[in-house]
Symmetry: D2
Subunit: 327 residues, 4 copies
């Protein structure tokens, strides 16, 4: 029951207005509560680039000790773009088996075509994912106008057995979901939130405000702005850095909730440089190197992502040291 | 034999220098001749978005009457990004069966991961494609540095049974293959050319010049600059517009070859606006609408690409009319 | 004395390390305190585009009643780029005369060339400005590397009689001052702060942290993120919206200082859409229209900026209404 | 008389339609012929950054021996953005005095505001410039929509005593003049051409075609695509490289005119890399270094442009060597 929010009466009104039939007088409308901190978990590979399931299980055991709300499986940091459709489902199945009800599992299920996304979302639900994170399709950039994106997400949400979370990550897709698209989609009863990695805090604040009548939950997509995101009304974060510094990310959440603003600011300050190092600057290869320092299996990425050299490893290590996360 | 160019002796020298073993004294090194005009053929769909193979066969019969050098199957205009891996192979197989040796068939075989691209290229060769057009991987933009791209293409070319053609289409991928990467890769004996859709004519000219010792063949990626591309030494083009105005595109090639520069210029002028209408401005949905006017089956695109409205259809029609291609 | 912060002992150490001679044992090193809220005041024009000095004086009288820390004169919202060098000095002189010591006056003094910027900064100091806000030069984008920008600001700061504030506004200049440039320049004793309009809150937080030993003060460049900027350690803001809703902007500052986080968030939410309307979306012409509704003289912009049409005016008005700032 | 083209009767019709009064029955309408090759001449500075007029005079004497059509004075390569308004007029005056009728002198007269541009264009005409090259204003990027740019150029052309040439250089301004703006402005009788440095050859070709009824002359803005620009109907070029390799640029023009397409292609190939080195890659500082090798005075740029280091100088030198322009 802890994942459930009661939708207030205005949602029922919205539902009525949008023409959905109500089958009984006092229908209980509820939304999955996705507030909290999530690592978008890295996918471990063996030297031959096959999936290292044993290492993944071990990593999950370690992550399970951290007060995460859940896991995002097959976000960008999970190299989802390098997994075959079969691998995506198989991997999700195993994570669900291993994690069980300990954490909320959100499945990255986005594909380029709407039909593939519909199909993948169904499969993710079938193997036990609790919500689907759907990245913007992005190949035909000129065609990805607001109408196309609204249609895409509406079709996926209409058919999905599990709630859908929008996912905007312009650094990878070069597509930034427009506020008007998000606001429109927030009215869909099966679209419950957004992960935004763009970092425009004004956009996040205005979206919190504009969607507050729709039980819409916004998650920061980067540890670089988790605290200010909370300050403007976001409810959590999907944080690449949480693969490495999960405890610190959860501490920041707690400091904010406890109203300890000065300490929150200071911890936020220390997280930005390490976060930049393992995301924008050195990407998944950097993230996997840093994971090793904290007891996780990192291992190689799939090609064409390249391993980083020793001098870059030293740079990352110094960033973690100078911010107090390594000796 | 018409597709074969004799590589000159400098290639043999290059091969020797790069350390590849030669197994016999007078090895005959040859390069597939890819010069000429190609439509990157549209993939027809039925109303339910399934592949309309009957319509594709009919379109190919009509295209076969035009003096194209060949077909690019599963380029961007072929909505390759919306086909499943199984569909990609099945579709290629059928095209090879129907076309036979009438035309040179180039298969789009690029995927995001190197391993998937290696695998898909192998499969495309297995079903009869004569060369592979490999788009730049693009999801992890921050990681797609020159080293990553050189590694990716080298691995694909090392393992591919058929020659590889580089494919740079920054309008879709937001990745522009750098000249130094292209020049480096042109030294690989199984990388025989480039399709560049970026439209930087200075870049094309300088690449022709810098790679002329490597039997490297450069194809224009747009009918908007086919004539100037020929003028700076490109050997042909993969032209979305050729799906619709194939004869005119081949006429432009012939005018250039015949040294009729003034007429070439005039025809080039008339092709630009129609080309822009069915590529950059209205994309594949616009292309498919225009195909119908010229006797081809166009039909719907797959979602999330959206059909265009009547007012946009009218705009495209007027562009074709005012440039003398429709009454 | 209210504008003065005592620099702590580490500054003295920094100064010693950087080789500057100290002429007496207990030199008092101090930094102008620029914390607070500023409108980058609009420059009013008559119908013939001449400067409407009488209207400016009237606007200032009204602004003087608001608890602003000061005024930024000839920021982007002041159409400084459309003023001749002579007008820039004359305008500054009059503002200083009218405002006196009531507010802290910061002069936009940036020009494309270093020599012109040095000269303009000197003139601004001569007529009484208390600090200089120096926008990044931007015409030769390819040449504006970190070295060029560090050199530019260093020369300006070395020669300026008044403290220098860096100004990064990529929306206008397409140049984003890099963190490493800002951190390096923060060590210069005559460079006391930064106005950053880029909106990357992670960058702002990391800069606060990285420059905290240098008495470096960071001002948010937009009302869309004033509250989260305070949350990560910025000391104020230069806010286009403050031309119109100055009181509300100062209220937000006060709520933050009083630790009223929930109310601050709610007011922040209401400010974003009005701010976007009079900055990014409709620019200075939109700002000047809105000024009229709040008792200020707006008037025309200089050409090539164009007046906005009635339908756009209605959009802006509705944004102010729906956020509770107009009836 | 060599600079004069007879406008055909359609122009007279256009003029009638646009409502301009004709004062006599057979008004002779003519357009300045700007076809040919121009260096956008560098502005030489002394070590103290003052203008080195003596060096400029000497450079002009050397340039005068090359079959240029004329000079563009105060283009981007002339560091016009770093000259004061007074210097701009003074410099133009001297160039006119020294060059006289030997060459056609085109004055860069663009400023950010329309009123300053009108005034500067008038002054340039007063001191003897024969045409004005007007760069797009660019500071308020969000406000520089098509309406704003059409208005700006129309006002400037309405009041200018000399013909106006549009100037689009997105590499510096981040503003790309849209085809519809150019086509609209080409109808203005005092707007006679365009210099386009963007390098989109399809755009150039389509503009030649779309404006052919308006006696509109298009000049390539870069030696990297001079030959293909001629091929699609441009009439010449304003070429930074012509400061250094003026003779070769004029040779390329002549080869094209003589129909020697193969030789033109080969010369074009050799010009691209040197051109890139002294424009995009190393900018004006690189250009000035290379000028020295060919007998011109180069000297320093104004700050914030920085001198380039020895390793970069060596790179440029090798580019000139390997393309056969230096021993």
């Amino acid at each position: 029951m802890s994942h459930i929010l009661r939708r207030t009466i205005h949602l029922t009104h919205k539902t009525l207005q949008s023409g959905t039939r109500l089958n009984f007088a006092f229908r209980c409308v509820s939304t999955l509560d996705i507030s909290g901190v999530y690592p978008p978990i890295a996918t471990p590979f063996n030297a031959d680039e096959s999936i290292a399931y044993d290492k993944l299980e071990r990593n999950l055991q370690q992550w399970n000790t951290i007060p995460f709300k859940g896991y995002v499986v097959q976000g960008s940091n999970g190299e989802y773009a390098y997994l075959t459709p079969e691998e995506r489902v198989e991997l999700m199945k195993k994570v669900v088996q291993w994690v069980g009800d300990k954490k909320l599992i959100i499945a990255g299920s986005g594909c380029e075509s709407t039909r593939d996304t519909v199909s993948m979302t169904q499969k993710m639900a079938d193997v036990g994912a609790k919500a689907a994170l759907v990245v913007t399709p992005c190949y035909y950039k000129g065609g990805m106008n607001n109408t196309a994106l609204i249609n895409h997400y509406t079709k996926v949400a209409d058919t999905s057995p599990i709630p859908v979370i929008l996912y905007s990550v312009p650094g990878n897709t070069a597509i930034d979901l427009a506020p008007e698209v998000i606001i429109k989609l927030s009215e869909h009863k099966n679209i419950i939130g957004l992960k935004d990695s763009g970092g425009d805090i004004g956009k996040l604040g205005s979206l919190v405000y504009a969607t507050q009548k729709n039980d819409f939950q916004i998650l920061a997509g980067s540890a670089s702005f988790l605290f200010p995101a909370y300050a403007v009304g976001c409810v959590g974060g999907v944080l690449g850095l949480a693969n490495v510094l999960g405890k610190a990310c959860c501490d920041l959440e707690q400091l904010y909730k406890d109203g300890k603003m000065e300490e929150a600011k200071q911890l936020q300050h220390r997280l930005i440089a390490p976060n930049m190092a393992v995301t924008k600057r050195f990407g998944v290869p950097g993230l996997k190197v840093a994971m090793e320092w904290f007891g996780y299996y990192g291992g190689p990425t799939r090609s064409p992502l390249q391993p980083i050299g020793q001098s870059d490893i030293d740079i990352i290590r110094n960033v973690f040291k100078s911010n107090g996360f390594l000796d």
